[in-house]
Point group: C2
C-alpha cells in the first residue's frame, strides 16, 4: 500500500533511477519501423507495434540495471487505441521482467470519475463476475488541482492493490512557476500541494518511512527540492528534468535522506536516444541505452551515496 | 480555430447543453450487456462493446436535439485498450451524426509531451507519409497547473485543425476550493486561471466574440460563475454540475451574455440514466434520455432566453 516495493528494488539495485519510455516514432531505429510497416502498413497499428518492439528491447537491456520504467501515456495515446494496447503490453512486459511500472498519465478528475481512472491504471475492474486489470501501473502520476475529491478515490485503490501515486508539486518546465510559485499567505503553491500530499500519504505509510503518496519535483529547481525535502519527511520524490532538460546529479542530491532514500530520478531521451547521441549503429540502440543507464547510475550514486534500508 | 462550430450548432438547435457520455457498465441496460457478453464473454472487450452500443443508441436519440456530446475518457480507459477503441468509435459515430465532440480528458503535460496529447485528441499524427486522427475530439478539457508550457502546444494544434480547449478554472466538486479558492494578492486561483485562459484565447479568437480557449466553471458555484463572466468577456464556459450534482438552471444564467451565448451546460447521469429514474422499461432508455434532454433544454432556455448569433 505504499512505495515500499519500489524502494526495495532501488536498494537492491543500488540505483534510484527510472527509465522513461516516451517513444516518439523518430526515436525508433529504422530497421524496426521498416519491419513493422511491412507487416502492418504505415498505420497507427504499424507505429504502435514498432514502439512495442523498441520498448521490449530496451526493457531486456535495462531490467537488471534499472529498477523501474515510466511510460508516458501521451506517447501511446497519440497512436490511438493501438497505441494504448502498446502501453498495456509494455507494462505487462516490464512487469514480467520484475520492473516497477510508473505510469505517467497526470490523470485528474473527481469522485467516481477519478475512481474510474484509479481502477483503470492501478486497480481492477469487474465485468460480470470476473476482475481485470485494464492497465498495469504500480504507480500513477496525478494532478491535484481539483483538491481532495480528486485524490481520495486513489488512496483506497492504492491501499487495496498495494499501489502508489505521485502528485504534481513543482514540475520541471520553465513556466511551472506561473502558478506553482505564486504565494498564498507567503507560502508557494507547490509547497501547499506538497503538504497536501504529505497529509494524503498518512493513509498509505510504508515501512521505510515513506508513504504511497509521492510528489513530482523537478530536478531543474534544486532550491525548491531542498525546501520540499525539509518540509515533507515522509514524501517520496519522482524527479524529472535530469539530463536532456539540463539538471545535474548535484542538483538532485538534496532530495535524498541520510540513507540514500527519498527519490527516484527519471531519464527518458537520455536513455532511449543514447544510440543517436553516441552515433553508433542503430541496431546497437539497446546496448547504448544500457551503457547510458549504467553511466547515469554511477553519476547519481556519487551524489547520493550508498542506499540502505 | 475557435469554438465557432459549437456556437453555431448551439444557436441552430437553440440548445446550450451537452450530453455527457460517462457510461458506467451499471448504466447500460441488461439486454445490451447480455447480448455483448454472449458474443465476447464477460471480458473488457465485451464491456467495451456494450458501452458502444449504449452510446450509439443515445446518440441516435439525441442528435437532433442536443448539439454536442462529452465522452469522459476515464470511463473508457477503465476498460483498457478495448475501452479506448469504444471512445474512438463513439466519437466517430457522434461526428457522423453531426454532433460536436468534447473529449473530457483533463490532459496536462509540457512541451513535446503536451503536443503529443494535442495531436492525439485534436490533431493529426503522421506515420510514414500518411496522416491519421488517433481520436476524434473537436475540443478537449485540459488542466493548466503546469502553466503556459502545458497550454501553448495546444493552441497551435487548435489553430491548424479548427479545434478548441476548455481549461479547468473552478470545478464543480465540493473540495474544489482547497486550492482554487485560495487567494494570491487578493485574487483567487480560479480567477487567475480564468485570466490566463482569456489571455491564451487571444490567439484563437472566433467570429462570435468567443475564443477557442474556454474554461470549465462548475454550476454548483453560481457566484463564481457570475464573477468569471464579468472578468472574461471572450471566454466560453463548459458548465458541469447541473442536475445530479445539485445545480439548477437559475444557477447557470449568469454564464450567458445578452445574446444567450457564453456557455454550454453538461448533463451526464441525468440523461444517460433517465430510464432508471423514470422507471420505464430498459429498452426505452434512449427515448427516456431524449425526453430528459428536451426537458432540460426547456428549463435551460427559460433561464437563458433566445440565442442569437
Amino acid at each position: 500500500m505504499a512505495l515500499d516495493r519500489l524502494i526495495e528494488k532501488i536498494a537492491q539495485m543500488q540505483n534510484p533511477t527510472v527509465a522513461g519510455l516516451d517513444p516518439k516514432l523518430d526515436y525508433v531505429p529504422e530497421y524496426i519501423k521498416r519491419k513493422c510497416f511491412e507487416k502492418y502498413g504505415e498505420t497507427l497499428k504499424g507505429a504502435a507495434k514498432a514502439l512495442l518492439k523498441f520498448n521490449k528491447e530496451l526493457i531486456d537491456a535495462l531490467c537488471d540495471v534499472v529498477p523501474a520504467v515510466k511510460p508516458q501515456a501521451a506517447y501511446y495515446e497519440m497512436y490511438g487505441y493501438d497505441g494504448m494496447k502498446t502501453l498495456y503490453k509494455t507494462q505487462e512486459y516490464a512487469r514480467s521482467k520484475g520492473m516497477y511500472v510508473i505510469t505517467d498519465g497526470k490523470r485528474n478528475d473527481i469522485g467516481t470519475t477519478m475512481e474510474a481512472y484509479a481502477n483503470a491504471h492501478l486497480g481492477k475492474v469487474k465485468v460480470g463476475s470476473t476482475e481485470y486489470e485494464p492497465f498495469l501501473g504500480d504507480a500513477l502520476t496525478v494532478n491535484g488541482y481539483l483538491g481532495s475529491d480528486g485524490i481520495k478515490p486513489l488512496l483506497n485503490v492504492c491501499k487495496e492493490n498495494d499501489k502508489g501515486i505521485f502528485v504534481l508539486a513543482k514540475t520541471s518546465n520553465p513556466s511551472s512557476g506561473e502558478l506553482q510559485d505564486k504565494k498564498i499567505d507567503g507560502v508557494p503553491i507547490y509547497e501547499i500541494m506538497g503538504k497536501m500530499s504529505e497529509e494524503w500519504g498518512k493513509e498509505l505509510m510504508g515501512v521505510y518511512g515513506y508513504s504511497g503518496a509521492g510528489i513530482v519535483a523537478g530536478a531543474t529547481y534544486p532550491e525548491q527540492i531542498k525546501r520540499l525535502r525539509e518540509l515533507l519527511p515522509h514524501t517520496f520524490f519522482l524527479i524529472p528534468g535530469y539530463g536532456a532538460q539540463g539538471a545535474s546529479a548535484a542538483d538532485i542530491a538534496a532530495a535524498f535522506d541520510k540513507n540514500g532514500l527519498g527519490g527516484i530520478v527519471n531519464s527518458s531521451r537520455g536513455i532511449m536516444c543514447a544510440y543517436q547521441k553516441q552515433r553508433c549503429d542503430e541496431r546497437e540502440f539497446a546496448a547504448a541505452a544500457r551503457q547510458e543507464a549504467v553511466r547515469m547510475r554511477e553519476e547519481i550514486m556519487n551524489a547520493v551515496g550508498t542506499i540502505s534500508l
